[in-house]
């Protein structure tokens, strides 16, 4: 078991999700897998035995996943507190985790639920945004423009929590609609619909024009 746990300290998700730009830093987030793999099983057994090294290995493996979602869902001020809350829930409830889904899926679900619960206890933001569209990354790699990133984060924080969850899971974390449906307990079509609305709201928030809000078709020979 010791050898198995030792291997668990390796990064779980060493391959960036498809379509995601490669970052200089460590692996980004996880794509949930359908099955519970051997490494996760060993981690879970170690944690159920109360072994601190197994808890630390699980934390190291999944903390970026949790922090990434928490950061976009509740913002930088509360993200670390939320991460601690999520990991306490993980460790306290691993005994009841049946392994029907991938561990990453379960942890995503706990994180999103904790985020939504957190957001329900605080008033919605009221700050208006403007002029972000011009600040969005152009030809430069997006990560190279911290100002645009901060403004985009602010725009995300203005989305309704449900839209925000789907947008973060799909567009930031790179999960598929099938995976999002499993995490949120909704149909694939619902996830797609929510993403469509979330992107439209985000475009509107950052200064874009929504066709349906501009009086329908814009002309220009767009008929089939």
């Amino acid at each position: 078991v010791d050898a198995a746990v030792t291997t668990l300290a390796l990064p779980l998700f060493s391959t960036p999700a498809a379509g995601r730009p490669k970052a200089e830093a460590q692996p980004v987030t996880a794509t949930p897998r359908r099955a519970l793999d051997a490494a996760d099983r060993a981690l879970i057994e170690g944690c159920r035995s109360g072994r601190r090294d197994a808890q630390r290995a699980l934390y190291d493996r999944y903390r970026r996943l949790v922090y990434g979602v928490a950061l976009r869902m509740v913002g930088p001020v509360d993200a670390e507190e939320l991460l601690q809350d999520v990991f306490l829930r993980v460790f306290r409830n691993l005994g009841s985790f049946r392994g029907d889904s991938a561990l990453a899926t379960w942890i995503y679900r706990l994180t999103v639920n904790a985020s939504l619960s957190h957001l329900s206890r605080r008033p919605p933001p009221t700050v208006e945004l403007g002029g972000i569209a011009e600040a969005l990354p152009g030809e430069e790699p997006p990560a190279a423009d911290p100002l645009a990133a901060r403004m985009l984060e602010r725009a995300i924080s203005l989305l309704p929590p449900g839209y925000r969850a789907v947008l973060v899971l799909h567009d930031v974390e790179g999960l598929s609609h099938e995976e999002i449906g499993e995490i949120l307990g909704c149909e694939v079509g619902t996830s797609k619909s929510q993403l469509h609305k979330a992107r439209a709201r985000l475009r509107a928030a950052i200064g874009g024009v929504h066709p349906s809000e501009s009086g329908g078709d814009r002309g220009g020979g767009g008929q089939p």
Partner: protein
């Protein structure tokens, strides 16, 4: 496609059926506004994807706080086990006391005709005195168990949810009254087994109540502790 349909198709890009994707491309070739929107969406999604990959500034410190909370969990679980053990001991005392009480009463009723001492075997009166001494000790043990549980509850209750702490105080007073009344009845009627049994039952109810309150408080705290 209309612009509205194109806008929906843009949101589904990557998941769209080939026919819809082809129709979208046809529309974009002739609609500068939708083309601009696609470019903006593309940049927006690229910006969103670039937001990933952040890590905590101090992951070791965050884990230390998590580990500290888990250590507190372990302390609480040990405390809960101790409470359960104490209540189990008290329950055993209740059974033993009830048994002694009934044996003692029967011997008391038969003692006058059966009392014969041969110097080695205790007489019935001696056995009765022994049983009464053991009952007194059992009574003391009941009270000690209750006092111990009360100490735990008094120490813990400031961390309990307000509703639980408030109901605890009221319920405790009524159960203490019940014990006092049962003790007075038992003292006034020492030959009545039903009153002795009622006293033992009142003790046990008090122990069960205290044990339950402590458990509820601990579980509520486990639920709410970050």
């Amino acid at each position: 496609l209309t612009c509205t349909e194109a806008e929906r198709a843009l949101s589904a890009e990557g998941d769209a059926e080939p026919e819809l994707a082809a129709a979208l491309e046809d529309h974009l070739a002739t609609c500068p506004a939708c083309r601009a929107e696609r470019e903006q969406t593309t940049r927006m999604v690229a910006g969103l994807r670039a937001l990933g990959g952040r890590d905590l500034e101090n992951p070791d410190a965050a884990f230390a706080r998590i580990a500290g909370a888990l250590d507190q969990d372990a302390v609480r679980r040990r405390k809960l086990r101790r409470v359960g053990f104490a209540a189990g001991i008290s329950g055993t005392l209740a059974v033993a006391a009830g048994f002694l009480l009934m044996v003692g009463m029967r011997r008391h009723l038969r003692a006058p005709s059966l009392a014969q001492s041969d110097g080695a075997t205790p007489t019935d009166d001696e056995l009765l005195s022994q049983a009464q001494a053991e009952l007194t000790a059992a009574d003391d043990h009941y009270r000690q168990a209750i006092d111990t549980l009360r100490q735990i509850a008094d120490r813990e209750r400031e961390r309990w949810p307000r509703a639980l702490a408030a109901s605890y105080a009221g319920d405790l007073a009524s159960r203490e009254d019940a014990v006092d009344r049962a003790a007075e009845e038992a003292a006034a009627h020492p030959d009545d087994p039903s009153r002795q049994a009622a006293l033992a039952a009142a003790y046990q109810a008090q122990i069960d109540f205290l044990q339950g309150a402590i458990r509820d408080g601990e579980l509520a705290e486990l639920e709410t502790t970050p």
